[in-house]
Symmetry: C2
Subunit: 589 residues, 2 copies
Amino acid sequence: MANIEEKSPRLWAFLIATYWISVVTYFLSWKAYKHVSALRANALMSPEVKPEQFAVLVRDLPDVTQGQTRKEQVDSYFKSLYAETFYRSMVVTNNKEVDKIWGELEGYKKKLAHAEAIYAESQKKGSSAGTRPTNKTGFLGLCGKKVDSIEYCTEKINELTQKLEAEQKVTLREKQQRSALVFFTSRVTAASAAQSLHAQMVDRWTVTEAPEPRQLVWSNLRIKFFERIIRQYIVYIVVFLTIVFYMIPIGFISALTTLANLKKYLPFLKPIVKQDAIKTVLEAYLPQLALIIFLALLPKLLLFLSKTEGIPSGSHVVRAASGKYFYFTVLNVFIGVTVGGTLFSTFKTIEKHPNRVFELLAKSLPGNATFFLTFVALKFFVGYGLELSRIVPLIIYHLKRKYLCKTEAELKDAWFPGDLGYATRFPGDMLILTIVLCYAVIAPVIIPFGVLYFALGWLILRNQALKVYVPAYESYGKMWPHMHTRVISALLLYQATMLGYFGVVKFYYTPILIPLPILSLIFAYVCRQKFYKAFCHTALEVACQELKETPQMEQIFKSYIPPSLCSEKQEDEQFEDALSQVSRTGSFV
Amino acid sequence: MANIEEKSPRLWAFLIATYWISVVTYFLSWKAYKHVSALRANALMSPEVKPEQFAVLVRDLPDVTQGQTRKEQVDSYFKSLYAETFYRSMVVTNNKEVDKIWGELEGYKKKLAHAEAIYAESQKKGSSAGTRPTNKTGFLGLCGKKVDSIEYCTEKINELTQKLEAEQKVTLREKQQRSALVFFTSRVTAASAAQSLHAQMVDRWTVTEAPEPRQLVWSNLRIKFFERIIRQYIVYIVVFLTIVFYMIPIGFISALTTLANLKKYLPFLKPIVKQDAIKTVLEAYLPQLALIIFLALLPKLLLFLSKTEGIPSGSHVVRAASGKYFYFTVLNVFIGVTVGGTLFSTFKTIEKHPNRVFELLAKSLPGNATFFLTFVALKFFVGYGLELSRIVPLIIYHLKRKYLCKTEAELKDAWFPGDLGYATRFPGDMLILTIVLCYAVIAPVIIPFGVLYFALGWLILRNQALKVYVPAYESYGKMWPHMHTRVISALLLYQATMLGYFGVVKFYYTPILIPLPILSLIFAYVCRQKFYKAFCHTALEVACQELKETPQMEQIFKSYIPPSLCSEKQEDEQFEDALSQVSRTGSFV
């Protein structure tokens, strides 16, 4: 008893700090939500014409009646509802085949340009005739007949162009799917249509906002209503299993990758490890490094799984993947490492009292403080260092320029920085937030590191996002509500951990903390009620802002034609013909 | 062991029956859902003009800017969004005062007619002069000054008419609230507007479907977004407490109202109770009768609580109340009586193992079979008998005709059958369903009673609903999804009880039943996904059906003016003047 009495002032300070941190988090995240919401509204009401604001995506079309084409069905349906603002519709087709041919064609075009560049170079360098580049036609250019590259590519291109044209016609005529894009001449109508129930049965004529052309996932558009739901749940189960059963390998890795173990199991490393400098570095960073590499393998799988759910837009896929990655990260890295360090000794405790997991977590937290401190430090020294210097892309670029790239287009490709990679970056930041929150009271030395991490992140990533990376899509801030939920999750975890911590030290006033998680849930609920709907849909008062110029509906329509269906001779009669599947009304002046 | 082996075939039959009943329930309720959904669509697409299909209810209006009236604010907002189909708006006012005056005025008008009828009668009967009726002005006409009724009423009417006119003007001018009704010239626009998010912040400009004029709850329209949410949760908590703590009195009543106890505590009843015929009846029906009377007191409270939630439409209030009443009924009557019969003996068991409630229920079920059998029988013999003969309303009507009613209007009032009273009727039926389901396997003799109950109900209530009762509102089948949820709840309770039952008899194959509750949840989820949204909103393809005639917008607008704000001289200038608060656009031809 005396021991606790002694500790009491410290515990009271801890308790007040917990409240203080929670309230600050509420306040800041509320402000941020409000700010992002206003930014979203501003971006949406911009006077510039954006194709996605004039279109809606219609899925789950019912069967066509006899003697009616898919296009006629869609047109008559929407004309009867929106007589004045309906412009045109585009029936979604199955582009798998045509995409494949187009991909091959583009590949050969690149190869041709490459071969021609090599030939020109050799002509410049040596004899006037030069050496014509050759390649083998077999697997990866390693086996098969040797042919003249330029001739071979030209031949292939001609062949594929014809094939593409034929396939384009077949696709537009015969491979129509049960979904369509519908274009309106008014932003308000499009925004309102995307929010309205069109058919009495919910699983028919599902109308949603159209994603941007560049982020439309064409292959997912044909998936039916209930199939989407089933796919979603299957993916959730798969992800759940992945999260739960990855815990075992992580536990092993954190047990294995101590220096002593390495020496024991990989004796050939001994001479290297014996050197003092390397030893220090390895001892400090080895487990963390193993963890970081381990985590780098996952995002591809999660992106694939999220795409399988049947989500129609690329940004939504990224959001879904990053959400999964967050839960993976927190459960496996944070909880896994914390409890995993003492996993074998306390496994039986968990089994007997599964609801004592927070107590266990609280008990294990102090022991792992150093690990996570170095983890955060490593993340921002190495992570931001690499980010800012972009040393890896630089090396790769120079290597490519030296040995691979021959044409201007190839150089541009090699230099292309890609997008910010939200799917992995943001869960990483959220993990840091979780760590910082959970250690803020127990080991407050982590706070400056956390502040530094996010302050540097603000400076560096702002710069990178604005000036380096090329965004692959624009989701108008739809990522934020998603992040906000995770911030509150992290806060809840922190509050539960603190409850566990006070429980462990048997502090008499622990129940004072109980309102905190409830408060967090109410806060999350209020935020969701107040802001979330405006992130799901476009508010009509936002959509009704004046535009700078009259929208060029033809342009908007064309922007949605996938490149593989775009004919080369854009201005030709043939193009109009290929698009004859696509309806046109006379109503637009 | 031998005992269970013996029982095994019977238990297998029980198990198969449980599956069978569940599947039949799924099938029937699916069919019913589909059917009601189609009926709703048919009713909504009817070519007749219905005012509520042309209006939306707008709540949570933001503050008006300086120099702008409320009406101008609403008009400019909706004109900018719906330039072509916006017709007019009506700002909601606080009608409490004017309603009160109007109520008094109507009361005096009735009294005057009554007094005149009495006077005319007395003239006819006796002397040519007749006796002028008199009344006292004090409390309930029992004390105060004695006055001539006709003169007094006429005087009062004149006085109140002037007061009403003044108050109407004040109300329209000064008592405007933060909500409005907006009228469109097109059903599609109204349906689409009711489903769309209008403002970036969800708690401003909340647009929802307008309820019918007759079921609009005016006093709730001014309640703000978050206030509505808070009220809702407070009401939920109050209802939860009511449900939980009513259990105690019910337990006492079912313990008290045995004949032996009655004799003991109310000795003056002894001579009556001793007669054989009365004794038999009382013994069989006394506890049930007590229960039924007890439950009759509740609906008023629940209706009041539901109205307090801030719901804007009368039918929704009834739905909310009936949902609460259902849970009350099932928890208190069904579970309370079943477990309550053995409450005192098994109270400690519950306390020790709170999750064994279903086992306990299963154990207590067989003992109460007779009680519920007589309960169902009583319900349909007495309930339907009273319903069909309408003997109580008939007696009341004849009594009123003889002693109270003097004018035609009063007679009509006395005869008026009212509406079906969904708030109490449907939870009662759902209770019977729950009882029949739960006893279907254990005491299958209840099945014919259940079938008879619902078959008779179909015949009798169909007749009553179509030919006797006057519906107070039309909700286009919105009650059904609500009932469907409760049917599935009853089914879940049944399945859980069966699990408990098999657990009690220690049947080896009990786990075969575990998929059933999961199946029920999936079924409920699928139904909700497929049908529910069409019950929340009007599908646009339904709203776009042709109308029989061009809608008379003026008529539609007027139908929403509450009677207390309707001026007597409808065609007068003064009416137009009183409505000058209300905007009008020139756009409607």
